[in-house]
């Protein structure tokens, strides 16, 4: 039974950052932006979270700084890709590189360390015990006692589905992706919608970053997003942005990620278990492509 709970919570831990980043990516996906900058936004978010939490002694302000950091990245994306019409793909690549460079540089410059920074002064995001539900046996352990950001991620997923499918903004957002010329001609400025989608994406990626550095652990390490932004991009593409689909895919990846942690003590070398999420991405891409080929 403990094995099950362990795997279950490891799955949630693994799924949360991917889920949040992918929800962010879904907004830009619907808006018709080829946004590959989630990785960079997440990394900057993770760094700013530590920065805010360490200097302002508050995990809340840590999360706020994470979102602010990711928003700055989104601002650069807007400046180059939306305003100056630079290629979105190139802007994304450059932003991801910028994020790695900037965080490594600031890690040296502000904290005077190389590789990773950890300090008792970093305030982590606490776990939440649900008042009534937490008392129920079995179910209580399944739903209560997890990191606050995990619950936020759940809310974000529900809210994103609501925004995309039930609001007037969602109608316009999806229209921007389907046919930007139509939206323009309908009297809505597509660039404006795209900017908003990037803002939402940055908020989600900032949360994802904060979870990485203040949620599961309490440190910032160079390049600690470790390709999660790319996996979340794959998740977005695989389900065409649908938030419910994204949550299923994220849980799946979370499961494999959890498996990685779980198999660490076993006879299989860690290097092979660490490959699992990436292999899982390839396998799901295989099923997606074969499926797509059949229907077309």
């Amino acid at each position: 039974m403990n094995v099950f709970y362990g795997l279950y919570s490891a799955m949630l831990v693994g799924a949360t950052p991917i889920l949040l980043a992918a929800i962010g990516g879904a907004f830009t996906y619907y808006a018709g932006i080829f946004n590959i900058a989630m990785e960079g936004m997440m990394l900057v978010g993770a760094f700013c979270a530590v920065l805010g939490s360490f200097f302002l002694h508050s995990w809340m302000l840590g999360i706020v700084s994470a979102i602010a950091g990711a928003l700055v990245m989104a601002g650069i994306f807007v400046l180059f890709a939306v305003r100056l019409h630079t290629d979105e793909f190139l802007t994304g690549i450059a932003l991801n590189l910028f994020a790695v460079g900037l965080t490594t540089f600031l890690l040296r410059d502000i904290f005077h360390v190389k590789g990773a920074f950890t300090d008792p002064g970093i305030v982590a995001v606490p776990s939440i015990t649900l008042p009534l539900l937490g008392k129920i046996p079995v179910l209580g352990r399944l739903v209560s006692g997890y990191n606050a950001i995990i619950y936020v991620a759940l809310l974000v997923t529900i809210a994103s589905a609501f925004v995309v499918f039930r609001t007037s903004f969602g109608l316009r957002l999806r229209a921007a992706g389907y046919n930007a010329a139509c939206l323009n001609s309908s009297g809505v400025q597509t660039p404006g919608i795209r900017v908003w989608s990037l803002v939402l994406c940055a908020v989600c990626c900032g949360l994802a970053g904060a979870y990485l550095s203040l949620g599961s652990v309490r440190l910032f390490a160079e390049n600690m997003s470790a390709g999660r932004g790319w996996i979340s991009l794959a998740a977005v593409i695989l389900v065409s942005g649908n938030p419910w689909g994204i949550s299923i895919i994220s849980l799946l990846f979370g499961f494999f990620d959890g498996l990685t942690v779980f198999l660490q003590g076993s006879a299989i070398p860690t290097q092979f278990t660490a490959m699992i999420p990436y292999v899982a991405t390839l396998v799901s891409l295989y099923f997606y492509s074969v499926q797509k080929r059949k229907t077309s």
Partner: protein
């Protein structure tokens, strides 16, 4: 072409100015910082030699990305192809007892074959199952990373070492220095010339470029685009693999942990700023290696952390790429005004 050079030079200068501004805001003197940067790369013999060696993986992965992007392929797998190439060369260097004259070409061939195999895997997945190479090559990077790490931690581990690395390869596989410059630089220059000939003078290069610009045009014109897809994938994988092989043979002479880590995205970045031109890739490769090599000296002399260069590189990429588009808009605007005046006369 001239526009391209102009926007490149202007972009790099603008980026250096932004970088200088960042330095000044942090309380550093930008002039002495840039001075130190140059001093330890271009203006000293050892710096220059180290800079050229450092340029080898940058230029080669850059060529790989340039040719791939220029042909319309999203091969982002240079990091993975590089480490697999390095591992292949290491394997041959470790276990094949032959004289240098045979062993060096064998190691080089092995490194290219390794990279080619890794990119070929992505090509096969695309051709057989229509899996997009964009995500596949990215995921294969991580897999290659962990795979090589495993290889140097367990089967090939050097028991005398403290961190994961292989034993040194046979000295017969070492690349010598020619007039203070590592022979790997010569291979890099040769590869650049060959790539330039291929892309600018060859039939394949012509067809690849047309395919990159307009796949349907190339296809209806009779070019065998599916076969070309596989070929470009293999060639670009081999180039990235060669980068890995030369790094092992010219540098530490063994596969050490984190060998490819510092070069992960540099090739893609260089191709992007060079707008997929072969000479451009060569020069930006040299520029970036100059920055990276100079960074070490810069950190010694001034208090600026060497990581500043990572930021500066990203600024260069953004500013040059955005500048290229903006400059075109400016040129267009001028031409538009002129035409407007003419038409109203």
């Amino acid at each position: 072409m001239r526009k391209q050079t102009l926007s490149g030079i202007l972009g790099v200068l603008a980026a250096l100015m932004i970088g200088g501004l960042v330095l000044a805001l942090q309380g550093f003197n930008p002039f002495s910082t840039y001075g130190a940067l140059l001093q330890y790369s271009l203006f000293s013999a050892s710096g220059l030699s180290a800079m050229l060696s450092r340029a080898v993986p940058l230029v080669l992965t850059g060529l790989s990305a340039s040719i791939a992007f220029g042909s319309g392929l999203n091969n982002l797998g240079q990091p993975g192809q590089l480490v697999i190439g390095a591992l292949s060369a290491t394997l041959v260097g470790l276990f094949v007892p032959l004289p240098p004259l045979v062993l060096i070409p064998m190691c080089i061939a092995a490194s290219m074959a390794g990279g080619l195999l890794w990119s070929g895997l992505a090509a096969v997945l695309r051709r057989a199952f229509a899996m997009d190479e964009f995500i596949v090559t990215l995921m294969l990077n991580f897999i290659a990373d962990y795979f090589t790490l495993w290889a140097i931690t367990y089967p090939l581990f050097d028991p005398t070492a403290l961190s994961p690395m292989t034993r040194p390869v046979s000295t017969h596989a070492w690349l010598s220095e020619v007039a203070g410059i590592n022979a790997s630089v010569l291979y890099m220059v040769a590869a650049t010339v060959l790539c330039w000939l291929l892309m600018s003078k060859g039939v394949s290069g012509y067809e690849w470029r047309m395919m990159g610009q307009n796949r349907l045009f190339a296809r209806i014109g009779g070019c065998r685009v599916d076969a070309h897809y596989v070929r470009v994938m293999l060639v670009t994988g081999a180039l990235a693999g060669l980068a890995g092989g030369l790094m092992v043979m010219g540098g530490p002479h063994r596969f050490v942990k984190g060998l490819g880590a510092n070069y992960a995205w540099d090739g893609v970045m260089i191709a992007v700023v060079a707008n997929n031109s072969i000479p451009g890739t060569f020069f930006y490769g040299l520029l970036f290696s100059m920055l990276q090599q100079g960074a070490i000296g810069m950190e010694l002399v001034t208090a600026v952390p060497s990581e500043f260069i990572d930021v500066l590189q990203a600024i260069i990429v953004l500013v040059v790429v955005a500048g290229r588009v903006s400059l075109n808009l400016v040129f267009d605007h001028i031409a538009t005004r002129k035409k407007l005046r003419e038409s109203l006369q």
